[in-house]
């Protein structure tokens, strides 16, 4: 668990981070979003003491971070950065095994762990273990970066715009993989990004920052429904907000049982999002869809009116 209370950071006259408080529960994924220079990276780096905070308390598992030895602390926390920071003179395998070796694991253990991680991240050992970073594509290099961060199986993972330098297709693929990985490993993740879609897609807890302060935080859905001010609203995409919200809602949560009328022609799997359902309606000129399970057996239906109503209903429920 990570807890920041009233944390500030000043560089000389300039205040980079101003009185922020935030809590990331164990196994949760927290995204810090904001424009350049809003203090999100600084906040991240205070957690593993790359930067020492000036005021307030930072607690890891209830213990103030000043208590830990900074070097040992960093070995316990995974860290991924935008340009990977892989050591160009080390092979992929050696790069991944860095932290376990720093922790004086036996050579055999390190090797087992490295192979396990390469497997986990979809890097065939035979093909990649002996390659050097400059021989990798951007996406491959960042997988190695993530593998290196996970090597000593840390509870906490800090990621600083890890996918910022990748092309959109690779980025999306890696985002999906990260989501799957997180569903399996349940790390406590703090993820910095300026890409709101990325944050909405991955985060359990969303923190919007501006000029060193937290403007708003909450679940992605809560933020979409009630942006606290125009800045957050514009960050969330202004008019696109409705669609983004629909993207976070599953079809199966809003379908109704089959009505007496003939089932609609268009079929949609129940784990698709409402956004995809809307798109399908537009494509098929239809205001009704038949919802099917994974075996393509109809289990319910979804109407345009229902979607629009649901959106309003959510507004009510999220207010409590």
């Amino acid at each position: 668990m990570i807890e920041l209370s009233h944390v500030s950071k000043r560089f000389g006259e300039e205040t980079a981070v101003d009185d922020i408080s935030l809590r990331v529960a164990k196994g949760k994924f927290c995204a810090l979003v904001g424009t350049s220079g809003c203090g999100k990276s600084t906040t991240l780096r205070m957690i593993n003491r790359l930067i020492e905070h000036s005021e307030g308390d930072i607690l890891l598992d209830g213990q103030a971070i000043e208590v830990y030895d900074p070097v040992k602390l960093r070995r316990r926390i995974g860290y991924v950065i935008q340009h990977t920071g892989l050591f160009p003179h080390w092979s992929v395998a050696r790069n991944i095994g860095l932290v376990p070796r720093l922790l004086k694991w036996s050579a055999a253990d390190v090797q087992t762990r490295v192979e396990e991680l390469m497997d986990l991240l979809g890097l065939p050992v035979g093909e990649f273990a002996h390659k050097y970073p400059h021989q990798l594509s951007g996406g491959q290099a960042q997988r190695v970066g993530v593998a290196r961060a996970l090597a000593a199986d840390p509870d906490i993972l800090l990621m600083d715009e890890p996918f910022g330098a990748l092309d959109p297709i690779t980025r999306e693929k890696l985002q999906d993989e990260l989501a799957k990985l997180q569903a399996r490993l349940h790390k406590t993740v703090v993820f910095v990004t300026h890409d709101m879609d990325e944050a909405l897609k991955l985060a359990d807890h969303l923190v919007v920052m501006r000029e060193g302060r937290i403007v708003q935080q909450g679940t992605p859905l809560a933020l979409l429904q009630h942006p606290s001010d125009p800045f957050v609203e514009s960050m969330l995409g202004g008019l696109e907000r409705g669609l983004k919200q629909a993207a976070l809602t599953r079809v199966k949560d809003h379908m109704t049982s089959m009505g007496p009328t003939l089932p609609a022609q268009s079929r949609i799997p129940s784990d698709f999002s409402l956004r995809q359902a809307l798109s399908m309606m537009l494509r098929d000129h239809s205001d009704r869809l038949t919802v099917v399970d994974q075996h393509d057996v109809p289990i319910g239906e979804l109407s345009l009116r229902r979607i629009i109503k649901e959106a309003q209903l959510d507004k009510g429920s999220a207010r409590e």
């Binding site: 000389g12 980079a16 220079g37 990276s41 600084t42 780096r45 930067i51």
Partner: protein
Amino acid sequence: MSLLDALPTPRLRWGRLHPNIVLVSLSLIMLAAFWLLDVVSMAPNRIVLGTGHSALEAFGWPGALLATLLIATVGIFACQPSQRHYRALLATIVLLMALMPVGLIASSYLLIDPELPQARLGLGAAYWVVLFVLLLCLIEIRLRLNLTRLWPTLLLSGVALLWWLCATFWLDSLALVQEFKARDQQFVRAIGQHIRLVGIAVSISVVMGLSLAMLMRRYERLQKGAFAVLNFLQTIPSLALFGLLLAPLAWLAANVPFLDRIGVSGIGTTPALIALVAYSLLPMVRNTYTALEEVSPDTLEAAKGMGMRAGQRFWQVRLPLALPVLLEGVRITTVQAIGLTAVAALIGAGGLGTFIFQGLGQAAMDMVLLGALPILMLALMVDAGLGALAEALRPGGIR
């Protein structure tokens, strides 16, 4: 956002209260040198080695105390660095430099027996150390105050003028001055020769270097071969290259009368010029080549896209953008040639090196200085001048 922007830079870290350790240590070094080393040496005539004299003997109590106070002031101001204190430091250092010849005048009155017209005053180790450290202080302050090179250059020129005045009118007993007065015409001629040799060699290699670099851009095969040959030449020690040129040229001069008539000979200007050009070509070609190659392909593509012809692209885009790096090549070449020309004196090419090697031969150290110091100054001046020119030519001061 770049991660490093978030890190405190070292410059921010030393705030107002941290002392400038650099200047404090430099001031301590000066104090130690001033009191522990000989300040001046005095010799009854040219050949005899002088006897050293400490600060007290050379300047008397008042002079030594004044110098100590001024040097200590540097250290004290440096303990509390601020813009104002740096300016005060700059003034103190210039004052110290200006007082150095005055100190020599004082010690010539205190130490030299008027009965001995041959007696000469030499600069002691302390003088050299303090002078060197003062220059270091100047550099440090320039960096801290973010001054351009112009300011220190102006200040130093002022100081140099003062020294020259003192040397001309009141410092007859200074060994360097006596050495100069004994051969002032020779000295002027030697400087002329030196500059002429450097000038000719650099001009030839600029022309040759430019053409070679352009050819190399066209013919890739030439590029590898030419760089290999030039690198090879650069590796051979100067003395050896001069030596290796001596014999064949002497033979040519002896056996081909025509060449002899146009001035080719084993000894003298010809081998010197050949060797100088051979050495100068590598830095010249390398910088020209990289300068022309390094112009961003995007810029050139844009120029092409806007409809500029090849000639226009070269003269209006590539060359102006390459010019600063190209000038950097000229700077390196010239500075290197100034030093090598000194070696050329060994094979009779003349120049300031003559004094160095004659002085070494006669064990007359002041004569060595008479050769070495102007060479050093020449190199520094060319370096500063061409460096400033390159900076001025960099469009909008990109860097």
